[in-house]
């Protein structure tokens, strides 16, 4: 601005903040570099933290590579990951089916709203992990008990979000369907369900996180052949780098599930840009 010949030419312009001009991946990478550098400093270089509590980045990387090789070559770890994946998959499917059905019952019928919902709220406030020993007693140490616990944890957010989604159709939209002579089923299928999809997907995303937590908790408590058992085993041997590496690979499974749901949401709820009512001035 110094070479502006006349100060009257100077206009007030908005300057974009530096952080807004940096691409996201650069910002993420920069943060990662800083964190790893501090981590390295605290462990390998200065020895502030004992390796049993926090391994150095180098050790963790070694174990990451080791576990990665085992996974890629179809070793016992891949088998464990596959077990956990199956658990998570079935639990998510079960939670979606039961949660959605209960959600429709609660959101669509007076009976569900008045009689069923209070019980669901009561159960939801319980610490659901406390049911793990029961599931193990009922279903044994195989994956069934883990599927049950994970599904149990993930069902409630889907119930609540499905019911909320069905309620969310506006008075105008209900009146429109009534004026068209739509049956209850038609109103449900053509209005309330599609209209509730954004809500339902929010519940599914919460459930995707819950199902992971449930599956791993189940494997911690109930043993078996899953990834959770591997983590517990390594932890009991004080093999902290291995625990770190296993958790990182496990998080890939969680991310895969989460992003599958997010991708599906983007495909199905393509119209929901800002969730604004259409035609409102």
């Amino acid at each position: 601005m110094t070479d502006t010949p006349d100060s009257r030419d100077t206009v007030w312009v908005e300057h974009e903040a530096l952080i807004d001009r940096v691409p996201r991946w650069v910002a993420m990478l920069a943060l990662a570099v800083v964190v790893v550098a501090i981590w390295d400093l605290a462990t390998a270089r200065m020895g502030w933290v004992s390796p049993i509590i926090l391994p150095s980045p180098g050790e963790t990387l070694e174990d990451l590579i080791f576990v990665g090789k085992n996974l890629l070559t179809g070793g016992y770890m891949l088998e464990a990951l596959w077990t956990t994946t199956r658990t998570v998959f079935w639990a998510f499917l079960l939670a979606t089916g039961i949660g959605f059905s209960l959600g429709v019952l609660v959101g669509e019928t007076k009976f569900g709203e008045r009689a069923v919902m209070p019980y669901l709220v009561a159960i939801d406030t319980m610490p659901k992990v406390a049911f793990a020993p029961l599931f193990i007693a009922w279903l044994g140490f195989d994956i069934a008990s883990k599927v049950a616990l994970a599904a149990f944890i993930a069902t409630f957010p889907i119930v609540v979000s499905t019911a909320a989604g069905l309620y969310s159709a506006s008075e105008n939209e209900r009146m429109l369907f009534k004026a068209m002579g739509a049956s209850r089923l038609q109103t449900l299928m053509r209005l309330k369900l599609p209209n509730g999809l954004p809500h339902i997907f929010t519940g599914l995303k919460i459930a995707a996180v819950g199902v992971m937590a449930g599956a791993i908790t189940g494997e911690f408590l109930g043993g078996g052949r899953g990834f959770g058992a591997l983590i517990r085993q390594s932890a009991s041997q004080m093999d902290t780098p291995r625990v770190f590496a296993l958790i990182l690979y496990l998080s890939l499974l969680g991310l895969a599930l989460f992003f599958t749901v997010a991708w599906l949401q983007k495909r199905l709820v393509f119209w929901n840009k800002a969730n604004q009512p259409i035609g409102a001035a």
Binding site: E173, M175, G279, A280
Partner: protein, 271 residues
Amino acid sequence: MAMAEPRARIPETAAPARPIYEIERLSKTYANNRLVALQDVHLTLRKGEFVSVVGSSGCGKSTLLKIMSGLLPPTRGRVVLDGRPVTGPRPDIGMMFQQATLLPWKTTIENIVLPIEIREGRAAAKAALPRAQALLSLVGLGDFARVFPGELSGGMAQRASICRMLISEPAVLLLDEPFSALDELTRDFMNMELQRICAEQEATAFLVTHSLAEAVILSDRVLVMKPRPGRVVEEIVIDLPRPRTLEMINTPKFGQIVGHIRDLLGKEAHQ
């Protein structure tokens, strides 16, 4: 915009058109009979007529319209359309509300055939697509059939909802403040569009509005409603020539009529 040839709409001088809508001694109370929303409303609509209802907010205009459309049962009274009592929503009644209420996950043209889809199924809706396209062209949205409603402006969305109302070829159009959410310029334009569409479709229309100018410019008759209990207190025949134009708003005669109605409403408001 090319104006369609006006059809004869002179209910007083020529042979009166046949009554199509008959409402007798209609009453509606809300809140366990404590709130009388409508009391002893009588009114008759003749084929091809355009009638408006004006009145202050809360005087029962929407209630009247909902009962006429079969969305709400009356507490007392008779509503007869085309010789058959109205006991629920019917395909020969077209409704339009203040909000366009298009489903955002359906394209504009899919929204327009939605009433057909609901009543007669997907195959019938598919068969109605050419008719929907013709209606869209009628309201100047011919190129927007495959667009999702999120991309339409408020005025365009309301025009699309006019098409959705017309697709079932209703015998009467019931309009509840259809353009009151639009800006004034768009609103004037939409009113002229509505006049043209009603002329082309030979529609019988019943419009609820709180804009006196809108009521006068569009109507053959204007009914004035008074609140608590809601009832029709006055009927004013608007003998301005057709087709009506926006320029008429500036004529002394138009001003006189609007003034007269305003006086009536004002008098009620002070009672």
